[in-house]
């Protein structure tokens, strides 16, 4: 399954693995997004070197691949922290006190939203709705959804993420 950020340890960049990822999807209709998801699932980000490999495999220009990679918020250009904590910043979560929690997470990790803590442990990222809006505020830690967030539950998540 294609999943944005699963809880797995990523492999270091490897050209042969990348080529295998590309091969696995190149014959599908509209193969580019499935390929990019597969690469990110494997390595945790899209290495610049992958752009040329994809361009060659799909017979499109490298600029086109680059344009796609940079268009979508999901695709990372460099590795994320060991854990990814996404905090929902959209309206239903704002209404339920999400803003205060976001500031609290930033203060505890010592980074602004969208960055990775200095020890490389946690990437703190904004997300705009997780579909958990009736049990807001919401978060997702490495693909695991968390609802009814309050300071105590957030602190527990931060502790878990820093291990």
């Amino acid at each position: 399954m294609q999943q944005a950020h699963s809880n797995r340890v990523h492999a270091p960049w490897d050209k042969d693995i990348a080529i295998a990822c590309i091969r696995a999807h190149r014959d599908r209709e509209g193969p580019l997004l499935p390929i990019l998801h597969a690469l990110q699932e494997e390595f945790g980000y899209i290495d610049e070197a992958a752009e040329l490999l994809i361009a060659e495999a799909l017979n499109i220009s490298r600029a086109e691949v680059h344009g796609v990679v940079t268009f979508y918020h999901d695709f990372r250009r460099r590795p994320a922290g060991r854990h990814v904590l996404k905090l929902c910043r959209a309206e239903a979560c704002q209404a339920a006190g999400g803003d205060v929690l976001a500031s609290h997470a930033e203060a505890r990790l010592g980074v602004a939203m969208g960055n990775t803590s200095a020890d490389g442990g946690v990437s703190l990222e904004p997300v705009y709705c997780l579909g958990l809006c009736a049990t807001a505020p919401s978060a997702m830690l490495d693909g695991r959804p968390v609802g009814r967030l309050d300071q105590e539950r957030l602190d527990a998540l931060l502790t878990e993420a820093r291990q």
């Binding site: 209709e29 509209g30 268009f71 979508y72 695709f75 309206e91 705009y128 709705c129 695991r144």
Partner: protein, 517 residues
């Protein structure tokens, strides 16, 4: 005797501990030496009661909730001994919040095992397809047209008309695409269907494929929904195994297969043409219309693209008839709408009901006001592009035209409640910020105007040339409204202007109350 229990595996139930509760009940059962069978269902949508545990009894299911892992031991004791438990909610179907609903699209959600096609069939599943096969393509389209079903993704375009257009074109290949991008804050109905009753979506898409002569389908699911994607993958595999998908659908001469594609975190990819470009592997930029997707859609082929709820409403329309569905609702909003109550609300969740219910009933009566206990101040309806309504507009009936007449929209049916601590200037600024962040970049009013909008709102709030800057903001909103290609730039003025008009005091203007004094 084996005790049969039902616990939701929907992402929102998991988010509040459904996995932990399930594990605790299994552990308690092992300790107490009780045989239990736990069926993992979708959610009933009464989210303040999740994790909810339902037990099968001779008189039907009985619900308990919200259950915490520490309740497992006690709960099991009560279930076995027939004793009372403080979390007992009574027979599930008798819970007033559920009983008051008209569940057509969501008839099975929370009831069935979403991984079991047998369970689906045992609960009237696949009957729409059976009738569709008997009717044939042209009559299917007419049945859907007669139902009055309008697209549930937001724009409210008549589904039958869309299908008829695609059906009339000859082409070697046509596509059915399901828009499961569900990016609007405050909405989760698509997710609930995919996680709780995925076969109804598959059935709806299969019926569409027969109606228009398409052989290939895609469900484009946002990446924020990994559980929904997994549930759809499993359901598609099961449907293939049983011949519901494949070269001879249900033994007929029709062929159709489908697959899941996952988005990549771009809100604008919910816009149908941007979604098609994204499926093709391009940047998700909005296309100029015409051509309509029904003429030239995915890979330039005729394509029916509908929202999850639109497709999921089709099986019951075919099964019970267009007239049955059409009998619910008001004006030209026919049938039922799965409304999603969210944000700062006491009783949040999925409330499916006929069109016509008022906003006030939804928020105060059904939602029971705010979870914080403070007064409701503003309600945003229809996602990030929807207007903020003050209490004075609570008499607005849930109906496409009634909301449009008040410069609002029902969109995908999300209702987000805010209490009196909300800062409406901040909300207006956020609407602009979101537009700037998500703009596909094709039109200047959207791409640049949204950033300007943030700056102008900041100046108004700081009290710099308030009158002139307010006029500038109104101007800017008009430019965005009329100069944008799609509703991202075109509708962002709704939340902004409604905030400014109904809550001027938050922008530093003297409040209406003060002015009246």
């Amino acid at each position: 005797m084996t005790l049969r229990l039902f616990i939701s595996r929907d992402a929102a139930a998991i988010a509040v501990g459904a996995e932990e509760v399930t594990a605790a009940i299994r552990a308690a059962a092992a300790r107490q030496n009780v045989a239990v069978e736990i069926v993992r269902t979708g959610s009933r949508g009464l989210y303040w009661l999740e994790p909810m545990v339902e037990a099968s009894t001779p008189g039907g299911r009985v619900a308990y909730g919200p259950v915490a892992p520490r309740d497992a031991e006690d709960l099991l004791g009560a279930l076995i001994g027939g004793g009372f438990h403080a979390l007992r909610l009574g027979p599930t179907e008798e819970i007033p919040w559920l009983k008051r609903q008209t569940r057509l699209t969501f008839a099975r959600c929370g009831l069935v095992d979403p991984r079991s096609l047998d369970d689906y069939r045992a609960h009237a599943g696949a009957k729409g397809l059976e009738r569709a096969l008997a009717l044939g393509p042209a009559a299917i389209v007419e049945e859907v047209a007669q139902s009055g079903l309008r697209g549930r993704g937001g724009a409210g375009f008549p589904t039958g008309v869309k299908w008829r257009t695609a059906a009339q074109i000859e082409a070697p290949q046509k596509y059915i695409v399901c828009n499961a991008d569900e990016g609007d804050s405050g909405t989760f109905a698509d997710r609930m269907i995919m996680e709780g009753d995925p076969f109804v979506l598959i059935e709806g898409m299969v019926i569409a494929s027969i109606a228009v002569g398409a052989t290939k389908g895609y469900v484009y699911i946002r990446s924020e929904y990994p559980h929904a994607a997994a549930a759809m993958e499993a359901a598609i595999a099961a449907a293939r195994r049983s011949g519901l998908l494949g070269s001879r659908i249900a033994g007929s001469s029709f062929a159709f297969d489908m697959e899941v594609r996952v988005g990549a975190g771009a809100y604008v990819c919910g816009e149908e043409t941007s979604l098609l470009d994204s499926l093709e592997g391009k940047r998700g930029q909005v296309r100029v219309k015409p051509p309509l997707p029904a003429h030239k859609g995915l890979f330039g082929r005729p394509t029916v693209i509908n929202n999850v709820l639109s497709f999921a409403s089709v099986p019951i329309i075919l099964d019970r008839g267009g007239a049955f569905y059409r009998d619910f609702g008001m004006g030209s909003s026919r049938g039922t709408m799965p409304i999603q109550l969210a944000g700062n609300i006491k009783h949040g969740g999925l409330f499916e009901t006929a069109f016509g219910i008022t906003l006030g009933e939804l928020v105060e009566d059904i939602g029971s006001g705010t979870r914080s206990g403070r007064p409701v101040r503003a309600v945003q309806v229809g996602g990030p592009l929807g207007a903020y309504f003050p209490r004075t507009l609570f008499d607005t009936p849930f109906d496409y035209e009634a909301f449009a007449a008040r410069d609002g929209l029902i969109g995908h049916g999300g209702v987000v409640v805010f209490d009196d601590t909300v800062d409406m200037a901040k909300q207006a600024r956020f609407a602009m910020e979101f537009c700037a962040f998500e703009s596909c970049g094709k039109c200047t009013p959207c791409r640049v105007g949204s950033t300007r909008g943030m700056e102008v709102i900041d100046r108004i709030v700081r009290g710099e040339n308030r009158a002139a800057n307010t006029a500038l903001l109104e101007d800017l909103c008009n430019t965005m409204k009329f100069g944008s290609l799609c509703a991202l730039g075109g509708f962002t003025p709704y939340p902004v202007m409604s905030a400014l008009n109904y809550f001027p005091e938050d922008f530093g203007a003297p409040s209406r109350l003060q002015a009246a004094e």
